[in-house]
């Protein structure tokens, strides 16, 4: 019984299945549009963001974690001192997600009744003195944090591996855990994209958020209903494309950057047969049964056309038809930025799915750069 459950979890954890499942259900849990929101309501998913929902989420997480600790392979990876912060990250992210969504739904209900949000105070009564109301909270939190950090430091010794040896490459070699989402992207993109272009777009994109989403009426309190598009997209980037990828990179990537389930032994001899092909080969060799053209431009024209259409064709088409109202509300500048950042974020799941379904290596493969 236990073994078959473990085997099932191992299979399910593989990026192919777990990512696609997450991708499929994510927008029903955090609905970006009214269409998704209606299904969310019909299925009662919003009940996760209540006291009972919180008890449910944490019972499942803590029970699952504790039961799994009986497995030696799970223990080996989760209790590794350097991986403790990622377990902390996982639990604290889920907790604060629940806390913020609970307050957001409570405020939405108040707004629907024509009330002000919970954070609102009538102007005459709204202020309290910093001394003592704030400073004592700060003091308590600082003391608790320091105690926690001291206990953590006494219980767990900071790890130290063998002395640095430039001639001995460990397998796997991993970047620091907070960059593992980028290293995970290396599976699907070349280093200049995963290691340079994407981080740049992430930093610029984060900075651009307040210049795209400028609606002041939803500032300063937890809410979801009136901001669902932006919250949904942000959470998709933050939870799925970042936290999930960090967790996959830390816990599920073993020797050879092969995938290993949480209850699987890290076998250095595991071989994953990969035979990835470029888009040009799929079109010319497999579909048209020809040889590849010698001229690079002719060979790669389909990939170039598709990529250009993705970034330059889709936004105007959506603005003309599906997202007409949104485009008019946003204006062309904000709309273009919004679409560029969303399409960049979506390009990762698209590339992942193409890799898993048709073994796609590159959309565009030239001697100078590959996409």
């Amino acid at each position: 019984m236990g073994e078959s459950v473990k085997h099932l979890v191992n299979v399910f954890s593989s990026p192919t299945i777990s990512f696609l499942t997450l991708f499929a259900i994510f927008f029903f849990i955090f609905p970006p549009t009214e269409w998704f929101a209606a299904i969310n309501r019909r299925l009662g998913i919003y009940k996760l963001w209540t006291g009972k929902g919180g008890v449910f989420i944490f019972t499942v997480m803590i029970t699952g974690h504790c039961l799994s600790l009986t497995d030696p392979n799970y223990r080996a990876i989760v209790l590794k001192p350097d991986n403790v912060p990622i377990v902390l990250l996982l639990f604290s992210t889920v907790f604060f997600l629940w806390l913020s969504m609970k307050q957001a739904y409570a405020n939405d209900a108040r707004l629907a009744q024509g009330l002000k949000p919970n954070e609102y105070e009538v102007p005459e009564k709204r202020k309290v003195l910093v001394w003592p109301d704030l400073v004592y909270t700060e003091l308590i939190v600082m003391v608790l944090c320091m105690v926690g950090l001291l206990v953590w430091s006494i219980v767990l010794q900071a790890p130290l591996e063998e002395p640095a040896d430039p001639s001995l490459t460990p397998n796997p070699s991993k970047a620091p855990w907070y960059f593992l989402a980028l290293q995970e992207m290396l599976v699907y993109f070349d280093p200049w994209l995963a290691g340079v272009a994407f981080p740049t777009v992430i930093i610029v994109g984060l900075m651009a958020i307040p210049y795209i989403d400028t609606d002041r009426s939803t500032s300063g309190y937890f809410s979801f209903q009136n901001r669902k598009l932006f919250i949904s997209l942000f959470l998709f980037g933050w939870l799925v494309l970042w936290v999930y990828m960090v967790i996959v990179g830390t816990f599920f990537r073993g020797p050879g950057w092969n995938f290993f389930g949480p209850f699987e032994r890290w076998d250095p001899h595991k071989v994953a047969a990969l035979n990835n092909v470029n888009l040009s080969e799929i079109i010319y060799v497999i579909a048209l049964k020809q040889t590849l053209p010698d001229n690079v431009l002719v060979r790669e024209i389909w990939g170039i056309l598709l990529t250009s259409f993705y970034f330059m064709g889709i936004p105007p088409l959506l603005a003309k038809f599906r997202l007409k109202g949104f485009f008019e509300r946003m204006g062309s500048m904000k709309y273009s930025w919004f679409m560029f950042l969303s399409l960049m974020a979506l390009s990762l799941p698209i590339k992942m799915i193409l890799r898993w379904s048709i073994n796609l290596k590159y959309m565009i493969a030239t001697p100078w750069f590959n996409i």
Binding site: P85, L89, S92, T93, F96, L99, S100, Q103, P117, N118, E119, Y120, E121, R126, V128, L129, V130, L134, V135, T137, V141, M142, L149, L150, W152, I154, A158, L160, E161, E162, A164, D165, P166, L168, S173, K174, A175, P176, W177, Y178, Q183, P191, W192, A194, G195, V196, A197, L206, M207, P210, Y211, D213, R216, T218, S219, G220, Y221, F222, I231, F369
Partner: protein
């Protein structure tokens, strides 16, 4: 006799009064002066909205990030007394830190604190997003926050190399290989061959972005020194400047966010 007794109360002595200008406040005015007259407390406003003192609203993550940064500064300075950033000394110094140095958990506090700071900074960003607190007029301060987030990760990244063990050198190798792939500026990046004058290629293993980061071709002693200086001096100085702007702008942009 009565006068002598009074002088024995340390809270009323000349020295105490010279340090703490304000007595333990009993009234509203005194409590306001407590904040205004103290260099550390005056980062705060005198009064703030009720919802902003609730842990449920702020999660304390911004304040905690700053607090953990201070803990890291103190423990980091103590570590610098014992640690020499050379390939022959670094690793053995780190072992000595645990085995022979008094109060030998400074490295533990520093290492776990560094992980903790990355998490608290992420959660702070998460809270600010979920409350819509980045919206005008606070949009520029959000951008400063993104810079602080990047600097936090760079501080952690540069510190990662210093123990000079296998984990350190190979993690930084993985990271710095990304720099080699920078378009135009990295030796393996697309378009690197285009950056040239006549036949002379300007982007080589001795002049590209990876070399600029490490100070040499691969992660060796030069990179260790460079990361040490980045970690202990350059990035802390830069992050303190941005933090000052960040805190200043919180006040100038209208304090902790709240509904209109």
């Amino acid at each position: 006799m009565a006068e002598e007794k009074k002088n024995k109360n340390p809270f009323k002595s000349v020295i105490w009064k010279s340090i703490f200008r304000v007595q333990v406040p009993q009234d509203r005015r005194g409590r306001m002066m407590q904040v205004l007259n103290n260099v550390f407390l005056h980062l705060h406003p005198v009064s703030i909205p009720k919802h902003a003192v609730k842990v449920k609203y702020t999660w304390c993550m911004g304040g905690l990030s700053f607090f953990v940064f201070l803990v890291l500064t103190v423990t980091g300075i103590l570590l610098m007394f014992y640690y020499v950033p050379t390939t022959t000394r670094a690793y053995t110094d780190v072992i000595d830190l645990a085995e022979t140095t008094p109060l030998g958990i400074m490295r533990e506090i520093h290492r776990w604190g560094a992980h903790l700071m990355v998490i608290t900074v992420w959660l702070h960003m998460f809270r600010v997003f979920m409350t819509g607190a980045y919206k005008p007029p606070r949009e520029f301060n959000w951008a400063i926050g993104v810079i602080l987030l990047t600097l936090t990760m760079l501080l952690s990244f540069t510190g990662y190399l210093l123990p000079w063990d296998q984990l350190a050198i190979w993690a930084i190798t993985v990271g710095s290989n990304m720099a080699a792939a920078t378009p135009l500026l990295g030796r393996e990046g697309p378009g690197a061959a285009l950056v040239s004058i006549g036949d002379i290629n300007l982007v080589t293993p001795l002049s590209d972005a990876k070399y600029g980061l490490l100070g040499e071709r691969e992660v060796r002693g030069g990179a260790l020194l460079r990361f040490y200086v980045f970690h202990c001096i350059a990035f802390p100085v830069v992050i303190v400047v941005f933090m000052a702007v960040h805190f200043w702008r919180v006040r100038k942009d209208g304090g902790v966010s709240g509904p209109l």
